[in-house]
């Protein structure tokens, strides 16, 4: 049962409620949504002793100004912001106890694009089709199916147990607006001219201002196709890089549609989706194609980092 709430004084640029996504309904056209950076979302939950299913707040580029009307334990992971609780700076990637009436203000952003605020017990907006994730285009889930606005009150749970104040190591954020992201070959890579594959892995692509939670448009040389065939619309996954006929690639992110009909040249590995999620419009990304073994090893390394935090949360007296 909710025992308190978070009062939104200022919403920031785009703050949404997210959990791990609305899985199981893509057959009827319902997009998955969920966090752009799954690693930082889970890390924030683990730092406050939550399970994997708890909802967090995803903060984008400009953070919110919030008041907690009950005492709470929070953690903020992902993009590096200056964060003040009642005027005192707090650390990121760590559980922090805040008293009833505390004001949590996101200040200057130093690195990365998206931060996740977890509260012990989770954000308890009503689930829709089994998930609290906000999907903006269809207006589903989260708080009334939309990004937060000033005046919103979000129900939160009473903390279930004392959470030890531990510090986690966060994601290595892209420095100086540049990141390297690893790819696996896409299901239609052979539909592209060899020059297109060469360009994809040798040129820096700029994240277009016309990018959002659905996908990033990547500005660079047009990626030419070797065939005029158009694929029949087929199911999609997060991280797919699809290329419409004009040749400008689109990297599909959390709010992607369930299916689409453009050829897919490559797919970002799961371990590097959090890195892609931390790129902002105007930042640059460089791609390399790796083996399935490297993709698997990178994902296991990420998971190990999370397991270490989970274990610490349980064993500390």
């Amino acid at each position: 049962m909710p025992s308190g709430s978070i009062h939104v004084l200022r919403p920031g640029l785009l703050t949404t409620v997210q959990d791990l996504g609305r899985w199981g309904y893509q057959a009827i056209g319902v997009p998955v949504a969920g966090p752009m950076d799954w690693f930082s979302h889970r890390l924030a939950n683990l730092a406050v002793g939550n399970g994997d299913t708890a909802a967090t707040l995803e903060v984008t580029l400009i953070g919110p100004d919030l008041v907690f009307d009950v005492a709470a334990t929070i953690a903020i992971c992902g993009a590096e912001f200056e964060i003040a609780v009642d005027g005192r700076q707090i650390a990121m990637n760590a559980a922090v106890h805040v008293p009833a009436g505390a004001r949590v203000v996101f200040g200057r952003r130093r690195r990365g694009a998206r931060a996740y605020l977890a509260v012990a017990g989770g954000v308890l907006t009503p689930p829709v089709l089994g998930s609290r994730a906000t999907h903006l285009v269809s207006g589903m889930g989260g708080h009334q199916g939309r990004a937060l606005v000033a005046g919103d009150r979000l129900p939160i749970a009473p903390p279930t147990r004392e959470v030890p104040v531990t510090r986690a190591s966060g994601l290595m954020l892209p420095a100086a607006g540049r990141a390297r992201v690893r790819l696996l070959p896409g299901p239609q890579i052979e539909w592209f001219d060899p020059s297109a594959v060469a360009a994809l892995t040798s040129v820096s692509f700029r994240i277009s201002p016309r990018s959002n939670r659905m996908g990033y448009r990547l500005e660079g040389p047009p990626l030419a196709r070797a065939t005029h065939r158009e694929p029949v619309s087929e199911p999609l996954a997060m991280g797919v890089i699809q290329v419409p006929s004009a040749g400008e690639p689109i990297l599909l992110m959390a709010d992607r549609q369930t299916a689409g009909g453009y050829p897919k040249i490559a797919v970002v590995i799961s371990a590097d989706l959090p890195i892609a999620a931390q790129l902002a419009p105007g930042d640059f990304v460089e791609f390399t194609i790796v083996s399935r073994q490297e993709a698997a090893a990178a994902l296991i390394a990420r998971e190990r980092a999370l397991l270490r935090i989970a274990a610490r949360g349980q064993h500390q007296p």
């Binding site: 009827i28 056209g29 299901p187 087929e234």
Partner: protein, 214 residues
């Protein structure tokens, strides 16, 4: 049939690369079989026109085992299953006027009267090939080639909920107000999608749809 990975979180099972009711029925039959066998083991099973996506958690999935299960179930998809159809839905539609602002344009493209466009649109029983784009949006086919006008060159920023449109060989109904580029010929009051219902989407892959003018 081929099975190909899409990144490290999805397998794409694909038959002939075509929009074909027999192929589509195989996809739907395999999706039902995989749901019965694997539902708890995978994240999502998503049928398309002629392919099926199986989304999985790479850290909790034996990929070779998953592929084997898909191949075993695909081999079991029988001729009988491929002739089974889903539910039949009759959708009442107000054609033309403010409900179907593109009806004159489709008639012009087809070089016939608006009345003939309506006649040809209601004459067929359509198959739900797949859902996508927005929750509850069903891709219905196949439209009579005589009225299969292409998408509008400039999409609308807001298409009202219930709008019935044509885009080439496809027809469909917008479940909620959204941007859209299909040629709008009518509108229905039927609620296509409601997440609070036990069955949120009125239409499911494999169902049949007939439009009834009102």
């Amino acid at each position: 049939m081929t099975i190909r990975p899409v990144g490290d979180t999805m397998l794409l099972v694909e038959w002939a690369h075509a929009i074909d009711p027999v192929v589509n029925q195989k996809v739907i039959a395999l999706a039902a079989r995989l749901r019965a066998r694997l539902e708890a083991a995978v994240r999502d099973i998503v049928p398309g026109y002629c392919s099926l996506g199986v989304h999985f958690d790479p850290l909790r999935t034996d990929l070779a085992g998953l592929e084997r299960a898909i191949r075993e179930e695909a081999a079991q998809v029988s001729g009988e299953e491929t002739t089974v159809s889903g539910a039949m839905h009759e959708i009442p539609v107000r054609y033309g006027g403010p409900h179907g602002p593109d009806l004159p344009a489709v008639a012009e493209w087809a070089r016939c009267s608006p009345a003939e466009v309506i006649e040809r649109h209601v004459a067929r029983v359509y198959r739900v090939y797949m859902l996508g784009f927005i929750p509850g949006f069903a891709y219905l086919g196949v439209v009579d080639p005589a009225i299969a006008a292409p998408r509008r060159q400039v999409p609308r920023e807001r298409v009202p909920a219930g709008s019935v449109g044509i885009a080439g060989g496809q027809t469909g109904i917008y479940p909620i107000a959204s941007p859209g580029g299909w040629q709008l010929i009518g509108r229905t009051d039927v609620t296509l999608f409601d997440p609070s219902r036990a069955t949120p989407s009125l239409l499911a892959p494999g169902d049949l749809v007939r439009f009834v003018p009102v």
